[in-house]
């Protein structure tokens, strides 16, 4: 468990929280990118230690690479997590160091959650990349806006490249928070080096009774009207309204209008 992330009263400063537009875009697109907030030396050392691991320690990754505590406890990381999962969000014990060695096989599309189509947003994934990721390095690929689709994983395996997919090719130190039900996979690693992605889960532990981000009631409704109906993936026209309704449920839940099941 993180040394700092769960201490009561250890709230991130307001300027680290998301605003309405960022929260609404997260709801619609299913991801939020945090630009590198760390010293380059921290990223480089974590990259070095991950490369030295013989295998993925799974839940023991924080013990194997203790510098990762500084990543998950950073206010620029905690701020978005608190904004999405509530003030008392907690890091789940489940975590991984996913390393893709050079190989010509991709990892097929899949989702990590069995609760397909759910709108309660009980947890999110945070993916940290300690080194710069390029397209030939087997990047994680996500499909923005796919998080509400009731698609069983075997069905997803017949897909390859999908129009609108986002290959997470980012500078070292980037953290990407994603909806647990977003479609994701990884490309082949044609490069000569290992590609690391540190995956952490963060749980909502109580329902929101009020917004936990920088909310502005004066402008939020107009923003919500526009951003909750945005077309993110190329989709059947009949799905547009149904997806907008699901996004609205999440927005209402985060505002505290609708109680989340935790």
């Amino acid at each position: 468990m993180s040394r700092a992330a769960h201490q009561p009263g250890n709230e991130p400063p307001r300027d680290c929280l998301l605003d309405d537009e960022q929260v609404l875009n997260f709801i619609a697109r299913g991801y939020h990118v945090i630009d590198n907030p760390f010293d380059d030396s921290l990223n480089a050392e974590i990259d070095r230690q991950c490369s030295a691991l013989e295998s993925d320690p799974g839940n023991g990754i924080l013990d194997a690479v203790p510098l990762l505590h500084d990543v998950v406890a950073h206010p620029k990381v905690r701020g978005p997590l608190v904004s999405i999962c509530g003030k008392d969000m907690a890091m789940n014990h489940h975590r991984h160091c996913h390393t893709r060695k050079p190989q010509r096989f991709a990892h097929n599309w899949h989702t990590d959650s069995a609760e397909r189509g759910a709108t309660d947003l009980r947890w999110v994934l945070a993916m940290y990349y300690p080194h710069t990721v390029t397209p030939d390095m087997g990047p994680t690929v996500i499909l923005p806006g796919s998080q509400f689709r009731s698609a069983p994983n075997p069905t997803l395996e017949s897909f390859a490249n999908i129009r609108g997919q986002f290959a997470i090719c980012v500078p070292a130190g980037t953290v990407v928070i994603v909806h647990p039900n977003i479609w994701h996979g990884a490309g082949p690693n044609y490069s000569g080096r290992k590609r690391h992605m540190l995956k952490f889960l963060f749980d909502r532990t109580s329902p929101n009774t009020e917004p936990t981000w920088n909310h502005d009631p004066a402008t939020a409704d107009a923003l919500a009207e526009r951003l909750l109906s945005q077309r993110v993936t190329p989709m059947d026209r009949g799905d547009v309204q149904k997806e907008a309704a699901k996004r609205r449920k999440v927005w209402d839940m985060l505002l505290g209008r609708q109680i989340a099941q935790v």
Partner: protein, 167 residues
């Protein structure tokens, strides 16, 4: 259209084989082996491929899965994946090759692909609910047929499956 793969990099067409047969008939050199080759190419009879005569081939199916935004064959494509009929030819997610080969299913038809599976209208009618959104797109499966005469047609097809790996 059936493509004739004399070697992995040397395709020919069925028309070319008929042209060759006509030329041989005209000169009186058309043989039983030529007839067997023609039968193999036209009918998919692979017996010639294993008879040791060196003239036959094996008909193989190249597959193309297309996901479209509607069951209409002119609708925009969402996704495409091509599977080549050879070991290691299984298509896969690859962000370094993200361009789709066609804009719509009809473009693929115009390029010689045959549709062998259409979206199931009855199932589509049953699936949607007032609330849920299902899997993305409407799936068409298309095929092209090729005759392979290369060495690999004598070895059993091995389906390579990507191992379970991390994202």
């Amino acid at each position: 259209m059936i493509r004739i793969m004399t070697t992995p990099t040397q395709p020919a067409t069925l028309t070319a084989l008929f042209d060759e047969a006509e030329a041989k008939l005209a000169t009186g050199t058309f043989s039983a082996d030529d007839l067997r080759r023609l039968r193999t190419a036209a009918c998919g009879d692979a017996s010639g491929a294993t008879s040791g005569d060196g003239g036959g081939g094996q008909v193989r199916q190249r597959l193309l899965y297309l996901q479209a935004t509607s069951p209409f064959i002119g609708s925009e494509l969402i996704s495409a994946i091509e599977h080549a009929p050879e070991p290691g030819g299984c298509g896969q997610l690859d962000p370094t090759k993200a361009d789709l080969p066609y804009q719509c299913v009809h473009d693929a038809l115009a390029d010689g692909w045959h549709v062998i599976h259409f979206p199931q209208q009855r199932l589509l009618a049953l699936e949607p609910t007032t609330e849920n959104v299902g899997v993305l797109g409407y799936e068409f499966i298309l095929a092209k047929y090729e005759v392979h005469r290369d060495e690999s047609c004598r070895t059993p097809a091995r389906q390579r499956t990507a191992p379970r790996l991390s994202a």
